[in-house]
């Protein structure tokens, strides 16, 4: 119920009642009952305005109010003799207000009460009139019609108002929700942006056309470009990163991510920068590739440190080598120098020859040491030719005093330099022979594995401890009494020079197996 409208209508009703009273037979005079009733009625509406809306909305309270209206109007009319006027019209208004103010169920009883009082008034003022008089009868239905139509109208208006209110409420709620979600989304985006921006790796996201959609500050720093010069552009248009683009293209076209790869790029200043990167694919709802994310890191500092470390390692080796060379050479030098000193006072030619032989032994020894150092330390270009390993190893093992079994199903032709490879296998075979006693047996197998020719050297010697296995290829590391510690370091170097690989497995007391992988020689292969 709209309190404002009802109170306004009630004022109109009060005014109409006062008018009816004024123009009634007796008229409205100060101090008379009609006057007092009119005053009470006016005050009642002021109280009505003051009443809380909730209280008025209660069906019983509103019914009481409208019943009060009918009774007050009726008594006012009665006391002022307004019966002779067309006062029944006021009932229409009262019933209309009652209909507006409450539901249909509430306005019908009001209409009945109004009809009964009206009938009673008519009867009182004119006892001769029959209740079936047409003038009278014709007015009653109108009271009900007014009651019904106005309450129907009020009800539908109320419904519409309610609907509108609900809709408005719903709209307000919806707006609130939308605003909340929008705020959350902005917050989430900012949060994600913060995460991406705080990552210490460069991050670039591209769509399937190669357009850069995201780039973080670290990526800007590494590439040397500003975000606005990259974001929204095709990654191909960025100069100097072709190698990286090729990798991205490869990842997207094959739908295979790239894990831990490295390329070199040119930054905006045209400096060469090695980068390590991963390419992760972005996929749509149906699993189709929609783009990718490249996470990369500038490896310049790592490379610089690596170079420093290598340099330091080289210096350490150099120091060790210098000390080793000094010691190893001083012994034969002592013989040469000493026997030369003795020669001065020797006249016996036989003794002289013995001393000279000792001097020559010394020079040979020094020469061997120099060869070892050169084999280990010198970087040189190798001319790769066809080497028959079966033949080479056959010539090495021919003079060995232990039992040797060589097995080979096929040819064993590799790309290599015969002299280097001879040194490699002499070193390995000598190690095996030295590890065995007179009952030792050396097995040598050749086989093909992918594009490798694998040479397997198996001995049943004393084996190598786990601790020593780790240091096998370290220069100047030796477990032999008279070893130089360069033998396997030289082997490793020769294998590296040949782009091959070597594995050594061993078990103490059981023996050692060396696997040497060398590239197979193919007729088409030209020397490099």
């Amino acid at each position: 119920m709209d309190k404002k409208i009802v109170s306004l209508l009630r004022f109109v009703l009060i005014l109409s009642t006062i008018l009816v009273m004024t123009y009634s037979r007796k008229g409205l005079h100060f101090g008379e009952p009609g006057y007092i009733i009119g005053l009470i009625y006016l005050i009642s509406n002021i109280i009505f305005i003051r009443l809380p809306a909730k209280l008025i909305a209660k069906p019983k309270v509103s019914f009481a109010i409208f019943l009060f209206d009918i009774l007050v109007i009726s008594s006012a009319v009665y006391f002022t003799g307004g019966v002779e006027t067309d006062f029944y019209l006021i009932y229409f208004l009262a019933i209309f207000i009652a209909s507006v103010g409450q539901s249909t169920g509430g306005s019908i009883p009001i209409a009945i009460v109004a009809s009964v009082i009206y009938a009673w008034f008519v009867y009182r003022s004119n006892p001769d009139i029959s209740l079936l008089d047409s003038r009278f009868l014709i007015r009653i239905p109108f009271l009900f019609i007014i009651s019904l139509t106005s309450s129907y109208w009020a009800e539908s208006t109320r419904k519409e108002l309610r609907k509108k209110e609900e809709l408005e409420k719903f709209n307000v709620e919806l707006k609130k929700q939308v605003e909340k979600i929008a705020a959350e989304e902005i917050e989430l985006r900012l949060y994600n942006e913060k995460i991406i921006n705080s990552v210490a790796s460069g991050i670039i996201a591209v769509n399937q056309k190669g357009i850069v959609t995201t780039i973080n500050p670290e990526a800007e720093k590494v590439l040397g470009y500003k975000k606005e010069n990259i974001s929204g552009y095709n990654i191909r248009s960025i100069e100097g990163i072709d190698q990286l683009w090729d990798k991205i293209d490869q990842a997207m076209s094959t739908s295979k991510p790239i894990i831990r790869d490295e390329v070199e790029i040119l930054n905006a200043e045209k400096d060469r920068i090695p980068i390590g990167f991963n390419v992760t694919l972005l996929t749509g709802l149906n699993g189709e590739v929609t783009g990718c994310v490249v996470i990369f890191k500038d490896l310049s500092e790592v490379r610089r440190l690596e170079a420093q470390l290598k340099h330091a390692e080289r210096l350490t080796y150099l120091g060790k080598m210098a000390s080793w060379v000094a010691h190893e050479i001083r012994n034969p030098l002592t013989s040469i120098d000493g026997f030369a000193q003795l020669l001065i006072n020797t006249k016996d030619s036989k003794i002289m020859n013995d001393y000279i032989a000792e001097i020559r032994k010394g020079t040979t020894r020094i020469n061997n040491i120099i060869s070892d150092i050169l084999a280990f330390a010198r970087a040189r270009k190798i001319e790769f030719l066809r080497v028959d390993l079966k033949e080479l190893i056959g010539s090495i093992v021919r003079d060995l005093k232990i039992k040797v079994v060589v097995s080979c199903q096929d040819q064993a032709l590799v790309r290599g330099e015969e002299e280097s490879l001879r040194r490699l296998f002499v070193n390995l075979i000598n190690n095996s022979v030295e590890a065995m006693d007179e009952n030792g047996m050396l097995k040598i197998n050749f086989y093909r594995k992918n594009s490798w020719i694998v040479t397997e050297i198996i001995d049943n010697g004393k084996g190598i401890s786990e601790k020593d296995l780790k240091n096998l290829f370290t220069p100047f590391f030796t477990t032999k009494p008279r070893g130089t510690g360069l033998g396997l370091a030289i082997v490793q170097k020769i294998v590296d020079d040949h782009n091959g690989k070597i594995e050594i497995k061993s078990e103490l007391g059981k023996g050692t197996t060396c696997l040497v992988y060398l590239n197979e020689y193919q007729e088409k292969t030209r020397s490099v």
């Binding site: 000390s323 000094a326 010691h327 190893e328 001083r330 012994n331 034969p332 030098l333 002592t334 013989s335 040469i336 120098d337 000493g338 026997f339 000193q341 003795l342 001393y355 000792e358 032994k361 010394g362 009494p481 008279r482």
Partner: protein, 119 residues
């Protein structure tokens, strides 16, 4: 009777050189390892020991310590390709009579031995 000198060096040519140098004036004995040298000195009376430092098996410096536990008087000459300062060789000076480096000045060695034990 000639005085007895023991040479301990794993290099055959060095042993030969020293014995050729000293055999005229002394009875020269030789061994290629430190363990044998310790045994020989414990068993027999030698007047002097010439020993190398870097040898397979027992190290020369360790051998000197062990010999000193058994024999406090025998003069020991260390003969090494190492240099005391260059190669961080730590040796108790009271244990050894002389430290000579390779290559060897044979005349100087002979003089030194003569100073220590006479002829």
């Amino acid at each position: 009777m000639k005085k007895k000198i023991l040479i301990c060096d794993d290099e055959e040519s060095i042993r030969l050189l020293l014995s050729e140098t000293l055999k005229e004036d002394y009875d020269v004995f030789q061994t290629d390892n430190a363990r044998e040298a310790i045994k020989m000195i414990t068993k027999d009376n030698f007047d002097l020991l010439i020993i190398d430092i870097k040898m397979p098996g027992t190290h020369g410096l360790e051998a000197i310590e062990r010999i000193r536990e058994r024999n406090k008087v025998i003069p020991i000459i260390v003969c090494s390709a190492y240099r005391l300062m260059e190669d961080d060789v730590v040796i108790k000076t009271s244990d050894v009579a002389a430290f000579i480096t390779k290559p060897i000045d044979l005349k100087g060695l002979k003089t030194k031995i003569f100073e220590l034990i006479g002829a």
